[in-house]
Subunit: 654 residues, 2 copies
Amino acid sequence: MDNKTISNIKSLGIDMIDQAGSGHPGIVLGAAPLIYTVYARHMNINTVDPTWICRDRFVLSAGHGSAMLYATLYLAGFNISLDDLKNFRRVGYKTPGHPEFGHTPGVDMTTGPLGQGIASAVGMAIGEKILENKFKLSDGKPLINYNVYALVGDGDLMEGVSYEACSLAGTLNLDNLIVLYDSNNISLDGDTSNTFTENVIERFNAMGWHTEKVLNGTNVEDIDKAINRSKKSGKPSLIEVKTIIGNGSVNAGKNIVHGKCLSKEDIRSVKRGLDIKDEPFYVDVNNMNKFRNQIVERSARKYELWARNYREFMNNSSEEVIEVFNSFFNPKKIDIINTDFNLDKGIKEATRVTNGKIMTTISKNIHNFIGGSADLSSSTNTYLKDMQDIKDNHYFGKNIWFGVREHSMGSILNGLALSGFKPFGSTFLTFSDYMKPAIRLSALMNLPVNYIFTHDSINIGPDGPTHQPIEQLAMLRSTPNLMVFRPADANELIGCWDVMLNSSGPNALVLSRQDVRTLPSTVPEYVKYGAYPVRKERKQLHGIIIATGTEVFTSLLIAEQLYNEIGLDLRVISMPCQELFLMQQERFKNSLIPGGIKTIVVEAGSSFGWYRFVINEKYLMTIDKFGISGTKGEVENYCNFTFEQIKERIRKLF
Amino acid sequence: MDNKTISNIKSLGIDMIDQAGSGHPGIVLGAAPLIYTVYARHMNINTVDPTWICRDRFVLSAGHGSAMLYATLYLAGFNISLDDLKNFRRVGYKTPGHPEFGHTPGVDMTTGPLGQGIASAVGMAIGEKILENKFKLSDGKPLINYNVYALVGDGDLMEGVSYEACSLAGTLNLDNLIVLYDSNNISLDGDTSNTFTENVIERFNAMGWHTEKVLNGTNVEDIDKAINRSKKSGKPSLIEVKTIIGNGSVNAGKNIVHGKCLSKEDIRSVKRGLDIKDEPFYVDVNNMNKFRNQIVERSARKYELWARNYREFMNNSSEEVIEVFNSFFNPKKIDIINTDFNLDKGIKEATRVTNGKIMTTISKNIHNFIGGSADLSSSTNTYLKDMQDIKDNHYFGKNIWFGVREHSMGSILNGLALSGFKPFGSTFLTFSDYMKPAIRLSALMNLPVNYIFTHDSINIGPDGPTHQPIEQLAMLRSTPNLMVFRPADANELIGCWDVMLNSSGPNALVLSRQDVRTLPSTVPEYVKYGAYPVRKERKQLHGIIIATGTEVFTSLLIAEQLYNEIGLDLRVISMPCQELFLMQQERFKNSLIPGGIKTIVVEAGSSFGWYRFVINEKYLMTIDKFGISGTKGEVENYCNFTFEQIKERIRKLF
């Protein structure tokens, strides 16, 4: 059966690519024995319950192998039709060009951008460890217990993000993670001898992993044994499997077979070599049924055990424990606005500090709220007090130490969000640059990941331009599906968290390093509208200031002074979330910011994305050049952004 | 002398931090013996000729150690005054919070964002190898010949970008690169046992490096010997030096000493321990002079030899060779517009393909034009035909194989640009995300790096949303100092290269995967204005379409059809570079896009950054959601971006 199924995965895969006119046959012909061995002999899954909590996960980090994955999932019995395979890479079918989470049953993650899959698999493995330790049956055994498999290519392992995540996986000793490395010495442009000559096995040994090498990548037994040894190794495992890219094609072993369709003749010849009928989309039904039975037989045992255990757990656990469980897997609306955070009313402190207090309270109430920082928690204030750390052999905590690894922090958060968590990760706003590929995947998968970015403007001062964000808010706001919050004070912060924790998608919370006063006119409940007035005009509306974050207080003060000094009557609008505001109905938007009224924007960052609110650039009090190292005052002056400068620029507009 | 100078580096460093009220004393007290050993015993530099081509380079990858670096440079005799040290982190002095290239003599690179320094040092080492092999004296010896030193901390080595670059350094066997690893088991948040337990030495061995371990980080002789052995190793070298963070402080060995000022009492006690006068900014002048003499004596030999060799080279080399040399170090205006690229006039092909032809010609004429791709040259078409590859022990070529390492490709390009090159690197536009931190540093240092991003829109089709850029143009355009070019066709491509190669700053060239016709009305010479009309109104100006890239042809066709069908008389403006257009005089801008005329923007990407040209969002034919996997037509339809949809949307505006 092994070879027949492998052949069928291959033949379907190359037929799909041929039909679509594009795709990646090299990995299909090279790595089919790997994916087959995992599904036939190891994956515990239920094709009629594809989101089963306790299923094993499979991440095709080399996402360009989507045809191979879909062919395997089809043969395995997931709800994918032959018609889906025939319409590979077409709108309206379950078989997009790269695997997409939520689009195809059996696909555990969106992949394609290399390195992301393996890095998020590390996040899934951390998630499993926590869940395994959190929910126990009456006999002390874990309710939840699964493995995470990833299939990677040379490209994945060259990417820095995979190194970061795998180094952390070694430190945390994630023995539930098994990585199969499709090692064929070829990448898109050519032989890896040009680019990638390191000893990968030794590198992973140095990172504390268990390693295996399978010399013949067509030998299912050898792959199987390596997986079995890995499961028992007590460490995260890398199995290097030597394969031949495009095996069986006339271009086997060459880079041109990576991403170009095979010729019709080559397809015929490959199929001949596979001893499979030369008929497009031929399915060996008898053999497929055997493959399905093998999966069902193994998985059914685990699924039935799970069902029993789940009933036992639900019957015997305390209400409290069940509530915790449900917060992961059946979340209810979370009320943050009416939560008492014990904040002083008159506080004047950085929003990063207030936020630390808020998060500490949140973490006590919300059980799937976990996270950490890329080695900046002392500055971002996101360490959850009273909560333990997650460490090797100690997965009870809520604080993850990511190390100086912003990028993989983002990818790991994605993996956690895919495992039932509402995770957070923090660093300085300027270093959000390092995380963009991971943030984009949060947005593409629409995962409830909370990015916390502090030190949000030039006002950090002396650290200088490398640490002063300018364009980062624009980068984040221009990313589809991502909500970007920049609260003015403690009140808005509470409102932000209320929206964020009830959202199914990703959020970025942007916080100040410098102190701000809690304002009398800010309102938590209004954050959900994205914008609202914090100062109404007294008599007649002369103009409007839109401000965010720390600039709200500045703008209020300027408005107050200009009213007293020259009678200029300004409305000040706080806009903690531009995206939410733009989603509101036209009537609301027009009533808040009516056309024909001079409108000014004040934000200590790029003008990008703000022109829509103003007539011309004179109305933008923003910063479009890099900052400078100096005192807060010196830097503001250099950026034409002191209180007096802004006030004067506004005065001149009227 | 050793200890006295080390003590003085430390005392000045902590005085600077104390005076500024911020900074990082931990590394100053821990790593001073490392930087001292490099400068006292190894660096060949000339403090009165700080940009000497043949100097050794020093990259403080752990850029937060700036106080230590400035104190060392001051003591070494660079043109930095005691007043500069006293005004650390202030505007107007040579001592910004993090080292800034071009701002401080002796600073070879801007650092601060971790990992970037070491990755760019790899670029510098590649650059040296090429220069060393390119310019020969009559006896066959190299004219240029220097080493690259980098000082890194745990944070640098945790960053994925450092792994990527160091893996490539192993493959290319860059034996001119010596990395000192300040290994103190502490990062900002705490002990590295929480985050970073891998065996770094073994990891670097696996990557083909020579490694050394110095157990006592205060022992200058041991560090010196390790550097000497490294120089002879024939491989890139990592020297792990065990140090104590904040050595001598009451908080020695603790993470709190990383980034917080010492108390006054602690400063006194540290100085007592160092046996140095307790006087702010005390300089042991006698000892400083000895330190300077030691540097001068060693370096003078090399500098004089260089001067002799340089004269010999200039006298004995052919005009052609001297021209090549000058193109690196005394560049002249480059005329691309009048270069014959042998392009067919009537071609219809993707701009990525035309660009490949143009680059091939450019590479023959421009000697410091080198680069490569992050394993996508087969798709980005940037492989320089007729040019050799750069490989281990073979540094004559112009093609660098970066591997699937977008991020370090960017950082390496920065290192090459710092070494006299006009480098390029290519990948898909969507993967520019991976490179943002490196792009930002190109922009901060204003380096002539050319980023080439192909597959520039949803029109790539079946690969789906992970590969379809949406927000990337906004990300790039919002980055200060970066010029973003999106040419409509071959003519504009030539104009883009003319601007790019004569620019001193970074550029991003954004190219299509799909075919475009060379248009009769596009003009290479006009690219430098950023925008110009490609279709003038026939009789009366009814409206304006601004378009870029492949959308210029679409817009022209729509304008033509609407004129014929309903007499709508539109001006079509091609805007290959928004940044350049915005730099033009108001009069020019207003004549091209007069106020009060309905103006439409057509670009297959985010609306971010385009509102400045339109009245409201109805006039934006842009895409603000993620794409989808499908045929070109299906994807365009999903994004409301087919030819007919755009035409109809425009028609309705009038």
